[in-house]
Symmetry: C2
Subunit: 341 residues, 2 copies
Amino acid sequence: MLGGYGYSSDAIRDRVREAAAGLGYRPNRLARGLITGRTQTIGVVAADIENAFYASAIRSVGDVARSHGFGVIVTNSDENLQLEREAVQLLMEKRVDGIIVSPADLNRPKHLLDAVAAGCPIVQIDRVARGLEADSVTVDNVGAARQCVERLIAAGHRRIGFLAELEIGYLGDVASFLKLVKKAPPEPHTLYPSWQRLLGYLGAHRGAGLAIEPRLIRRVGAYSVAAARATTHALLSGEQRPTALFTGDGTMSVGALEAITALGFAIPADLSLICFDDLDWMKFVRPGITAASQPVHEMGRAAAELILSRINGDTAPVHRIVLPASLTERRSVEPPAEPAA
Amino acid sequence: MLGGYGYSSDAIRDRVREAAAGLGYRPNRLARGLITGRTQTIGVVAADIENAFYASAIRSVGDVARSHGFGVIVTNSDENLQLEREAVQLLMEKRVDGIIVSPADLNRPKHLLDAVAAGCPIVQIDRVARGLEADSVTVDNVGAARQCVERLIAAGHRRIGFLAELEIGYLGDVASFLKLVKKAPPEPHTLYPSWQRLLGYLGAHRGAGLAIEPRLIRRVGAYSVAAARATTHALLSGEQRPTALFTGDGTMSVGALEAITALGFAIPADLSLICFDDLDWMKFVRPGITAASQPVHEMGRAAAELILSRINGDTAPVHRIVLPASLTERRSVEPPAEPAA
DNA sequence: CTGAAAGCGCTTACAG
DNA sequence: CTGAAAGCGCTTACAG
């Protein structure tokens, strides 16, 4: 270098690298990103990070990303379309290589279409927006709900209550939905999870030749424990009480269990319960309840792998991955093996 | 522009901006970051994103960051020092403006010192590493635990069980810790939360002139529900059973409650319970339990505001923010107001 | 096979 | 007050 002599570049290179590492040199990924056009970063727009479902999904996305040298920028839309738009805008400005999103409004995906048009791959998780030709990873809610209800029917139940949020994602009420289903069953993937689960409930009844009793289908109308508690209370206090109850998700399950407790049941002897357990905490609450849980980690992993393959130039047609939900019998807590002192 | 005529630059500028927005122009923050040296990004290294404590903290950090036009890159150390080092390295290469971290190993913060030396501000959350002169946001675990136990003592209890993980963060066992405390009480902020809570337990006893019964202090030794269950079972099955139990965190509380249930108690009539409830789910489990919960959102917000002020050049001495933990009486679930049908 | 130059898209200091 | 130039730290294509 100094004298302009020739030298073995490899050796020098190694020494330079060592020296650099010793001095704490860190390559500047901004500069690299500017030149290569890839930032090695995945953007995530979660509907609600605090929700255990998204927390777990993000964890899996992060694991996969890390193993490929990618980072993850996490944003929260709070189920708010405007916040989601701003989040996508920020992620685009930061030039993430791809975005994983659970769209807050399935009917207004323009900002997502724009992102795709701008060359930013999108993978949808948990939900599929109408008219957005982008990959998706969802759960077979129809099948899972159907399986739950079939199980109750097989156990001899004929009056099965159904409790779900049923507010967003379909513009009519339950009655008009029932009519719609009779005429022309809607494509499941255009519905929000709670309506998909109702579809499964209806399917199980149809399959068993049982009539639908609209009184047993309760729309809570809000994502709230208190509302679910009140609705459950009304359902169970009335006449013609159901002998079994199927709740549409974790929040509804909490409200239902609270109501049952308030009504005086420790573990209900005359009521079978199957609960959707997004949050996987139900095992701590009441042993002996059957729970249907979502394969959250698989979902996060699948979404991350999809986005990475798109980033790497995969141009295959849109992937619509639908994972099965699993039915889990929560075992009663057994006393520990350790002998009592 | 075309003819080189003079023009009102403001009007043109506006029109250019509008046109740009219409065409979907997005400023490239990479380029801006390269030139300004600021990426408007906060890095977070959480010990475990799936844990509701960190999920909530991250949510608050994200809220504060967004309101200042910042993004958040989230990584997960899984309580693993090597993963934490790699995460910090990645964040530095991505040139984040500051890092919020819950150090996995309080005794080996070299990588964090390096980051500070390289000009990257660090804010510690939940824990404080030894010898790291960086801001921190923690909870007054000693005070909170002391308050819980004082409450049990005031209610007349004289035999109070204590259940905590007590594995990491102190190199000796419980007996040697008790000796150490007698000689020279350690600085709380150099201890992990579970030892801090034990310190509070001891303080409450000392304050009331009660002797410590080592048999009542149970080290679970692992962050596991099953282990906590077994330990609780052993404690409650033995002779000289405590009349009250104080559990050191959410996971320990779950195990304790499971063991109590398995032993046949619906709501224990002869046992008072105060539980640390990091996760804030306990209200769903057993009404009537007193819970001490951490002000997670305040912690996240405080950490984000601290890091932003450092990024903006605040050179004040190290801040050590210690937030009070709050004692919450979970009310029994009341039947809904709605009249029964 | 090596090394100097061009350029990614911005911001900022500086000449006109 | 305006506009052209320099430069952030890299990668890549290209001349020697």
